[in-house]
């Protein structure tokens, strides 16, 4: 039973990531394209009835600017539209769906500039997920190395490493980020700037997981079977690999599952202080930052889409972590 659930989960995660990679295909419009006549437009109404006959093809109801009626535009599939690149390499202009000009299909409404929220959502996933994954990887890499060194060897190494950990945790990190941003040249390309900032979050974030791992390693190290193995002549490396590391795996996986969404949330905080991805590039973070405005939050509920996407992604990551842990333990 568990196996089937696991395959479903893996499939869903794979689909999610595929969708994000092929954002250009899924999204009907360029994420920066502004439609200034339609700011804060509600999601387009899809009718399956056109000209008094039901169709399989949905119609998009685009409101006329002057009166209450709307003009119906049929939705077409596999259309040619604005150009985009897949993974920065392949060029294409094929889109999954679209409507004829001057109609517009806004599956999830528009933002304050009239930009299609659905397009921005899928493109934004690219940035946000990349940020979360990169930062988590860096943070856990550093945390594991330091936690193991500290917990296993103890003594002065432990003291000094944990001292550095405390220092990192005690720093007013906002200052740190402000300084980094200020030192970067203005003319660095926005993607480079953002990746650098992400790396910084990851590097700052090693301290807490390192302490956790250290705690595990400390107690694992002093167990009888480890002492026995050492008595048998096992080298440090062997001991670490065979006995200590597996103990830490559980904590590592839990941390990874917790940190990915936390670092995506850290991106929201960065956007809050204007240190995140700059316009017009979308990310779930800077799309969510408008929700801080009370007036926007209560009036335009479709703008909650990135928050929902974040929740869905996070839930899937945890279920994944749980599944992996279960699989490891059944070995």
């Amino acid at each position: 039973m568990r196996k089937r659930a696991m395959w479903i989960l893996l499939g869903s995660l794979g689909l999610l990531h595929l969708a994000i990679i092929f954002a250009g295909f899924l999204a009907p419009y360029d994420p920066a394209a502004q439609n200034r006549e339609f700011p804060y437009a509600a999601p387009s109404r899809l009718d399956f009835v056109g000209g008094n006959r039901p169709h399989f093809r949905p119609f998009v109801c685009v409101p006329e600017l002057s009166d209450e009626h709307c003009v119906q535009y049929p939705m077409h599939f596999f259309v040619h539209g604005s150009e985009y690149r897949i993974l920065g390499l392949l060029r294409s202009n094929l889109h999954l769906f679209g409507v004829e000009e001057p109609g517009r299909v806004f599956l999830l409404g528009t933002d304050s500039f009239g930009r299609d929220e659905f397009s921005r959502l899928v493109y934004g996933g690219q940035i946000s997920l990349a940020a979360g994954l990169v930062a988590t990887f860096l943070a856990l890499l550093a945390a594991t190395v330091i936690g193991i060194l500290s917990g296993y060897y103890g003594g002065w190494m432990d003291e000094s490493l944990m001292g550095w950990a405390e220092l990192f945790l005690a720093l007013p990190w906002l200052y740190f980020l402000l300084v980094i941003r200020a030192l970067l040249p203005l003319h660095a390309s926005p993607p480079a700037t953002f990746l650098l900032l992400t790396a910084v979050i990851g590097v700052i974030g090693w301290a807490r997981p390192a302490r956790l791992i250290r705690g595990i390693v400390l107690s694992a190290r002093s167990r009888e079977y480890v002492t026995a193995a050492r008595g048998f002549g096992g080298s440090d490396f062997y001991l670490l690999r065979r006995h200590v590391l597996p103990q830490t795996l559980g904590v590592l996986l839990t941390q990874a599952a917790l940190l990915v969404p936390q670092y995506v949330a850290a991106e929201v905080t960065l956007s809050f202080f204007g240190l995140g991805v700059s316009e017009p590039m979308p990310s779930w973070g800077n799309m969510m930052s408008v929700l801080q405005q009370y007036g926007v939050l209560v009036s335009y509920s479709w703008l909650l889409a990135p928050a929902i996407a974040l929740v869905v992604t996070s839930v899937m990551y945890w279920l994944l972590a749980d599944t992996i842990r279960y699989w490891i333990q059944s070995q």
């Binding site: 200034r36 941003r181 202080f273 204007g274 240190l275 801080q292 009370y294 007036g295």
Partner: protein
């Protein structure tokens, strides 16, 4: 504490609180030279709760610089001459009349007689002299000192008699009486000692006991709770009376709550916890408007404010700084046709619609329609035209390459960054809209949000930026406060700071005109001069003006005499006239 003792304490507290309460206005006597506001009626009682963005930092009128402190200080102090925010004209305040000499240099002010401070001590010319001595003291370094220094010299202030003071300016200065608004009159009997001891800048910090903060304003300090609120109560000796000769203010108390940013303020206002809200954004305004009758609030759109938002290109002299990238781009920025093309490409109409929800006005000059007295209505307002912009660029030597990018005469693609403060959502939006507009001309523009002070550092210190979106103005309707923006050697001459002389012919001309209008006393002549200045600014585009928001305010319907104005402080400038309807039955405790 034993139960009996505790009970006694509670009873005592209860008794005390029954008798405590707002001070009763002192009965008026014929010795007092009171100002009568004949049009004002109302009744006593009630407390007005105001939400503030942050805590005030100090109650010292001489050293305070931040907006919240100044708002509170303005309610507990009074000036010699005040600017009526509704009419934007000066009115007598502590000085009941004044005479100006023919050459406009000598002001003789007659003070009201019999006026007392909030602690009952009498006010007279000695206090005026003391106050100005403190403001002008270089050792204290008050930011307000600069307002009084004309041509590097301070005015000569003399006391003619106990109720008359004379000011002699080093040279004639237009609308000089407007200067007096904002100079709170300080009590010599309280502040002279710390002043002599050199401890003046520590005076009247927030935790000063309430009875030591003494002023002539409609209210006086009652209580300060750190991080939460500051309460001021009625000044029983306030020198204004209403239509029926009742001493103002009507309100018992003002409570300033430190609520936080605009969103928190709107939430509290909507929940009924605050009574007044000043300057909100259009999304919040629309939200409140939908529910206005259910919430019991009155909202007002007061029309365009006096601020102006603009795009400025870096035209600073970069020799000696290692900023080759920016220096190269200055060849484009310095070309008038380039700037004109940018101005023609910006779609101001949709900018106003998207940033201000149509509650705003597009701008083509530094004075907008909100300043009816000084605006030059003859300045052209060209609509967006990409055709004209392209022609201008072509005639300036630019061209388009095969991928549609704009390139200059040497073939380098036109690419630059616009910085703006990340904490100002409206300006960030404008940056994004301008970026999109300019992309239709083939320009590659990047928008870089910067933390506020980091941005200021680049603009004023390092000059390491290409272009910025900023806002200025809003202080006063009169042109004089803006001198330093338009004078070539002015400290706010943002596009080219640190010049000792004009860099261009037109800047030279503007210098001359501004200096001249400063000393011209006749309004018509000044208007002509300033019109010409506005015209030159609009033609030479040191700033590419974008838009100005409307002033949006609100208050509960129970707040009577609510007459908000376009000048700061928008809702509280007539705090002494405000009253709460429905408190007729509340007895004065």
């Amino acid at each position: 504490m034993k139960p009996a003792g505790r009970l006694a304490l509670v009873v005592c507290l209860f008794a005390v609180t029954c008798f405590a309460g707002a001070p009763v206005p002192a009965t008026t006597s014929p010795n007092e030279d009171l100002e009568q506001l004949a049009a004002v009626t109302g009744h006593y009682g009630g407390r007005l709760v105001i939400g503030e963005k942050a805590e005030p930092k100090t109650l010292n009128p001489v050293t305070a610089t931040d907006a919240v402190s100044r708002e509170v200080i303005g309610r507990i102090n009074a000036d010699l001459i005040e600017i009526n925010r509704a009419s934007q004209q000066t009115e007598p305040a502590l000085a009941k009349s004044w005479k100006v000499s023919k050459d406009g240099r000598t002001f003789t002010l007659h003070l009201r007689k019999g006026i007392r401070f909030s602690d009952g001590h009498p006010f007279d010319a000695d206090d005026v002299l003391f106050s100005f001595a403190v403001y002008l003291d270089e050792a204290i370094g008050s930011p307000q000192r600069d307002l009084l220094i004309i041509d590097g010299k301070a005015p000569a202030i003399t006391k003619l008699d106990q109720n008359t003071v004379q000011f002699v300016l080093p040279r004639p200065y237009a609308a000089a009486e407007r200067l007096f608004d904002g100079f709170a009159m300080l009590p010599k009997h309280v502040l002279e000692t710390p002043y002599r001891e050199g401890k003046f800048d520590q005076v009247w910090a927030l935790n000063t006991p309430a009875d030591q903060v003494v002023g002539l304003g409609p209210f006086r300090v009652k209580q300060y709770v750190p991080g939460q609120r500051l309460i001021v109560e009625r000044n029983p000796y306030y020198w204004k009376v209403d239509h029926e000769n009742q001493r103002l203010p009507y309100l018992d108390e003002l409570a300033f709550l430190f609520v936080g940013a605009e969103d928190s303020q709107v939430m509290r206002f909507e929940a009924g916890e605050t009574d007044v809200i000043s300057r909100m954004g259009v999304e919040n305004y629309s939200l409140l408007q939908r529910d206005a009758s259910r919430l019991g609030v009155q909202l007002a759109d007061l029309g365009p404010s006096l601020e102006y938002n603009f795009l400025v290109f870096n035209l600073n002299d970069l020799s000696g700084k290692k900023l080759d990238g920016v220096a190269r781009k200055q060849a484009w920025f310095g070309n008038l046709k380039f700037r004109q093309a940018v101005s023609m490409a910006v779609d101001r109409e949709s900018l106003v619609k998207l940033v201000y929800g149509a509650r705003g006005t597009a701008l083509w000059g530094n004075v907008g329609p909100g300043n009816q007295r000084w605006v030059n209505t003859a300045i052209p307002h060209p609509q967006k035209s990409l055709e004209t912009a392209r022609q201008l660029l072509k005639s300036a030597g630019f061209a388009w390459n095969n991928s549609g990018q704009l390139v200059d005469a040497s073939g380098a693609p036109v690419e630059f960054t616009i910085i703006s403060s990340s904490s100002n959502a409206q300006r960030m939006k404008m940056a994004t809209l301008v970026q999109d507009d300019l992309s239709h001309l083939g320009m590659q523009v990047h928008v870089v949000p910067l933390e506020f002070r980091a941005m200021l550092d680049r603009i004023f210190q390092s000059f390491d930026y290409d272009a910025a979106i900023m806002g200025l103005g809003g202080g006063d309707a009169d042109p004089n406060p803006e001198m330093n923006v338009w004078l070539s050697n002015g400290s706010s001459h943002l596009w080219h700071l640190g010049e000792s002389q004009a860099a261009t012919q037109w800047e030279n001309e503007i210098d001359r005109l501004m200096q001249q209008q400063m000393v011209t006393l006749d309004y018509q002549k000044r208007k002509q001069l300033y019109d010409r200045v506005q015209q030159m600014i609009a033609e030479n585009l040191p700033f590419i003006f974008l838009a100005t928001p409307d002033v949006l305010v609100g208050a509960k319907t129970q707040v009577g005499n609510f007459h908000p104005a376009v000048l700061d402080p928008y809702t509280l400038w007539n705090a002494d006239e405000l009253y709460i309807r429905g408190t007729e039955k509340a007895a004065i405790r």
